[in-house]
């Protein structure tokens, strides 16, 4: 019983200690002129879908959930957002060359088609980010249209 108490105490201290470690927050009020939505000006339903299902990890501004205040959840999020933005940042869209836009669009289409995006670990909590089959089709059709206009 004594050992158990010690272990609990150590864990408790560790848990408390990591709460003080800083995390980088992905937040910005400015939407740059290069943003996908500003450049392509898609219909309202498309913008809503993109903002709800993609922009948290693929733009410079994340709408954080409550548990981002608690470690180690915050680290987990930070990691995902960093990775997501490195792959594709919708805010930087117009800075990509046509060649790269083409590659990104192809990946967007394939990932939505194969249900790889949005990530299941993300939709687990963000239920409104889940794309219905109809929404998937709407997005894919729109992205295909933009892709074809590049070629």
């Amino acid at each position: 019983m004594k050992i158990l108490k010690t272990i609990v105490l150590i864990l408790l201290i560790a848990f408390l200690a990591i709460q003080f470690l800083p995390t980088e927050r992905n937040e910005s009020d400015v939407i740059p002129k290069t943003d996908f939505l500003l450049v392509n000006n898609p219909p309202e339903n498309i913008s809503t879908l993109l903002k709800e299902s993609c922009y948290d990890c693929h733009s410079n501004n994340t709408e954080y959930p409550w548990y981002n205040k608690i470690q180690p959840a915050a680290w987990y999020l930070e990691d995902h957002i960093k990775e997501g933005k490195a792959e594709l940042n919708f805010n930087e869209w117009e800075n990509y060359s046509d060649r790269r836009k083409n590659s990104k669009l192809k990946s967007i289409i394939n990932q939505i088609k194969d249900d790889e995006m949005p990530l299941s670990s993300y939709t687990l909590i963000h239920r409104d980010a889940i794309l219905s089959d109809a929404e998937k089709k709407t997005l894919i059709d729109y992205m295909t249209k933009i892709k074809d206009s590049l070629e």
Partner: protein
């Protein structure tokens, strides 16, 4: 007593997730280390080839066929990748993808004109992403990325030229029609492998 149990459970969960996190970080560092050492290794190779490279460039800088060592290595890595896809070998393809990513990272474009440099940098940036994904994906994804990567390679060759004859080959069945480059005339399909090995035709001979 019940309280203690609950607290223990909560803390155990926190601990497990923490451990998972630190494991993940640890792994990452390791792979980064591996990357570093590989990169150093590559840079060394690169240095060895350097003198030769500069000589070639200064000798025939006006010749559009002056293919630099870097450009040659990129193509060689691409061909290794293609062979792995023909053999439907995911692990070899991943390895080749990582190798190609490294080579692209060290691609020196200084011997080209400003306009060519811009174009090449764009091609390299794009190809690097495809190579990176091929390095960590399943076969079907590897092939998807290989298609766009092949386009990048064709555009690169149009700038860098090639010393060996290349064959641009085309399979009309894969993803609405897809091309790739090969050193041999004979068709060995990287998009289907043994499923449809001979599907395709030579579209163009590049000298």
């Amino acid at each position: 007593m019940k309280k203690v149990k609950v607290t223990t459970a909560i803390l155990a969960m926190a601990f497990v997730s923490l451990t998972a996190m630190s494991c993940k970080d640890g792994k990452k560092e390791n792979s980064e280390d591996a990357m570093h050492s590989e990169m150093n290794h590559d840079e060394m190779n690169h240095d060895e080839g350097m003198n030769h490279d500069e000589m070639t460039v200064s000798n025939d800088s006006m010749d559009s066929n002056a293919q630099t060592t870097d450009a040659k290595q990129v193509l060689a890595d691409y061909m290794t990748l293609k062979e792995a896809l023909v053999a439907t070998n995911k692990d070899d393809a991943a390895k080749a993808g990582k190798k190609l990513e490294n080579t692209l990272n060290g691609f020196d474009v200084n011997s080209y004109t400003a306009e060519q440099q811009t174009e090449l940098k764009d091609i390299i940036a794009d190809a690097k992403e495809h190579a990176e994904h091929i390095g960590k994906s399943e076969m079907d994804h590897q092939r998807e990325h290989f298609k766009t990567l092949s386009k990048d390679m064709m555009d690169m060759v149009a700038i860098t030229g090639t010393e060996n004859t290349l064959y641009q080959q085309f399979c009309p069945m894969y993803d609405g029609g897809s091309a790739w480059l090969s050193m041999e005339k004979e068709i060995k399909n990287p998009y289907y492998g043994s499923k449809m090995m001979a599907c395709g035709k030579v579209q163009k001979e590049i000298n």
